[in-house]
Amino acid sequence: MADADFAADVEHPEEESSTRITIEGRYVVETTHTLPELARCPAYVAHDTLSAHSGVVALAPPALYPARANAQKMARVRSPHLLTVHALDEASGSVWLVCDAPPGPALTEGSTWSEISVLERVIEPIAAVLHTYKEAGFTHRAIRPDNVFDPGGRFSVRLGPGLASPPAIFQPDRFESLSSVICVPAARGNGTTADDVFSLGALAAWLLGGCRPYGDEQPGAFTEERMARSSFAVLAGQLTLSPDIMSLLAAMLSDDPSARPAPRDLLNAADRKGFVARRQAAAAIPVQIGPVNVHTTRELAWYAARYQTEFTGLFRRGVVERWLSHELGLTQAASRLGVIAKDGAVSGDSSLSPLTLMEIIAVLDPSLPMFWDGLWFWPDAIGHLSAAAASGASTFPVDLGSALVAVGQGGKLARFAQLSVVEGQAMACQQVQMAIRQADVGKPADVIRLAYFLNPFQACLSSRCADKRFSVAWALLQWLNAGQNVDQPGVPGLLDPYMTAFLFACSHRNGLVDYFDDIAGKDASAWASDLRVLAKLQHLYVTGPLPGIARKLLPHLTSSLKQWRSRTTRTRRGEDLAGAAEAGDLVRMFELLNDAAAVAKDREAWLVARREARTLEIAQANLTQQSADVPPGMRAEMFRVAIAVGAVSAIASLCLEIAL
C-alpha cells in the first residue's frame, strides 16, 4: 500500500510547469500530487531525472514543524537502514527535502513479531543507524512505529528521517524517556543518543507486546506510574519474554540515561547476552510530599515541581537534606541543598523563587530538564517553544514569553548547564544565550525572534503566509511585492511582528546586519517602520525594484510627510515619493521621509516664518490703531511747503511787476 502511495515513477505529463519544482537540478517535485505523510511531514510525488528506478519522495516541512536546525549536516549521514535524504534545498524559497521512498508499510500497520525478528530486523539495524548518528554527533529523536518501515520478508526495517520535524515533537509518550516525556512536545529538544536508545527499546517492547494501537493514549497518562514503578515496569513489565530479552529491554528502558546501552552495544544484540539493568537508588523509608510517598530523587524532583508549597515546607525544615543524606547516602547533594537553603534563609523569602527551585531540582536529579516557573523544557528547545507559543499551536501552563525572557536573563541558563549532567547542555545553553543577546530579546513579544535565530529552516510564522513556508527573505519579499493576500484586518502595517523578526533573522544569518536595531527603528507609524525595514532589506539584498510593496506602502506614508511644516516641501516631497514608489525604489522613499537635515532646515525656516508673522501682526495692529490726523512733524513740513509756495508767489509777483 505504501509502495503504491509513494510510487515515484508515476508520470504527469499534463501538469503545468508552475506546479513543479526542480531541486538541485535533478529532482522534480509535483506540488499538486500529495502522498501520505512521511514521519508526520507532508509528502509529495517526486522524480529523480537521472535515475528512473530510484524511488524518492519530497517532504515539505510546514512552518509550525520546521526541519531541524542542523538538518543540512544530518542529511549527509548515510546508513543502509535509514531512508537517505538526498537533498535539502531552499532555492524555491521554502525548504524541500528529497528522501528515499519508504520500502514498505510503517510498523503501525501491525504484524506479529518474534523476539529474534525484533532483535535482528529492528534493534540491530536501528542501532547501526544510531551508532552512525552518534559518530556524527547527532540524535534521531523520531523512532516510533509510524517512522519505521518494514520491507517484508527477512529484510531489516528502515528508519524514516528524523530531521524533517523538530526533535521528538511527534513522539508518543510511550516512546519517550522520562526526562523527555515530562516536557511538552515542543520543549523536548535534541536529547541524547540515550534517548534514542530508549525509544528503540520502547519500540521493541511495543512490537513484542502485540503492536497495540496507542493513538488514544492521553499525553502524560503514564508519567506518574512510570515515575513510581519505572518505565520498564510500565512499558514492558507485563510482557512474557525470555530473560535475555527482558534484561535487554530493562537496560534500554532504564530511566537512568547512563544505564542504557550504547548503540554499539546493540549492534549484535541477538548474540549478546547479559545486559544488566541498573536500578536507581531508592530509599527504604520514603519521604511524603503532598499525598505521595517518594522513594527516589527523580520522583522527589518531579513532585517538588507539582507540590511546590509542600516541598518548600520540607526543604525549609531540612527534611529533604536529612532524607537524602540518611536514606540515600547522597551527602554531596544534601550539602549542596544545604547551601541553597542557607542562601534562601538569608534572603528571607517564604516561598522558593523559580531560580532556587530550578537549582534544587537540578541538584536532586541532574539528568532532568530545566524547570522554570511551572514549565519543564530543555534549553535547546527554546526555539521550538517560542515558535509554538507564538503560533498558538500549543497551550502552556505559564506565560511562555515572560518565562523565556526571565530564563534568558541573569545567567540562569549557564547555572542550569553547570548543574546538569546531560551531555551538550553547556553548548546548547551558550548558543541560546548568544541568540538571546543577538536577537535583542528584552520583552515577551521579542521571544518569537528566537524561533528564527535558533533554526535557519524555520519558515515565516505569519498566519498570512505560513502555508507558503517561506524560509528565505527574498521569497517573502517577492510574495509581498506580488501583493497577494497581503492585507490582514487588525494588522497596522504591511509586516506583522513574525515577518519583521523573520526578515531580521535572515539578514543576520546572511551577515548583513548584526543587531535588530540595525534594520528596525521607532517610527511614527507601523507603515513607516515597515518602510524602514523593507528599504534596508532592498538595499542589503539588492533585490531591485519592488513596486508592488511601494504602491502598498505609499497611501499610508502621507502622514509621515507632515513632519515637514512647509506646504511647498510637503508637496514636492510627496511628488518625489510617488515617483519613487512608481519606480519601486524603497530606499529612495525611505531617504525622502527620513532626511534629518531637511527636517532641521524646515524647522529653522518655520521658526523664521513664525517670527516674521508675529512682527507683521504687530505692524498690522499698529496700523489699525494709527490716527488719521497729520502728525506735528508733517504739519510743520506742510507749513514749510506753504511758506515756500508763498515765497515763490512773492518772487513771481515782484518779477512780474518789474517786467511789466
Binding site: R567, V599, A642, G646
Partner: protein, 141 residues
C-alpha cells in the same frame, strides 16, 4: 508787542503815511491772525506773509510812482480790487496750507491702506505655507 514796534509804527505813520496806510490796511487780516493766534508760534503769520507780500508789490509800486502820497494810498484803497486782492492773498496762504495738509492726510491714508493689504497678503502667504496641523507628528530633528 515790544515798545520798539510802536515806535517804528509811529515813525512810519509820521514820515511815510501813504505807505503805512496802504500796508496797514492790506495787512489787516495778518494783524488779526497775529492777534488771535492762540499758539503764539506765529507760524500762520509767517506762512501768510509771503502771500501778502506778493499782493502788496503792485499797489506799493503804484504808490511809489505817485511819490507815496496819502491821496494816492487812499485812492488805491478805495479801489475794491486792491483791498480784496490783498486780503484774499492771506486767505490764499491759509488755503494752500490746508490743501497741503489735506493732501498729506490722503497720502498717509493711502499708504496705510497699501501697507495693510501688503501685510495681510504676506500673512496669508505665511499661513498657507506654514499652516499648523494638529496631526503633525513630532520629530526629533
Amino acid at each position: 508787542m515790544k515798545w520798539s514796534h510802536g515806535l517804528v509804527c509811529g515813525a512810519a505813520l509820521a514820515w511815510l503815511p501813504g505807505y503805512s496806510l496802504l500796508t496797514g490796511v492790506l495787512l489787516l487780516p495778518l494783524i488779526m491772525v497775529y492777534m488771535t493766534d492762540a499758539s503764539r508760534s506765529q507760524a500762520m503769520v509767517q506762512m501768510m506773509l509771503p502771500y501778502e507780500f506778493a499782493a502788496l508789490v503792485h499797489p506799493l509800486h503804484l504808490l511809489w510812482n505817485e511819490d507815496g502820497s496819502l491821496d494816492t494810498a487812499v485812492s488805491l484803497l478805495l479801489n475794491p480790487m486792491t483791498s480784496i486782492a490783498g486780503w484774499l492773498a492771506a486767505g490764499a496762504g491759509w488755503f494752500v496750507l490746508e490743501m497741503a495738509l489735506l493732501s498729506a492726510k490722503f497720502i498717509r491714508q493711502y499708504q496705510a491702506r497699501a501697507r495693510k493689504a501688503e501685510i495681510a497678503a504676506r500673512l496669508k502667504e505665511l499661513q498657507d505655507e506654514w499652516a499648523e496641523d494638529s496631526s503633525v507628528p513630532e520629530t526629533s530633528a
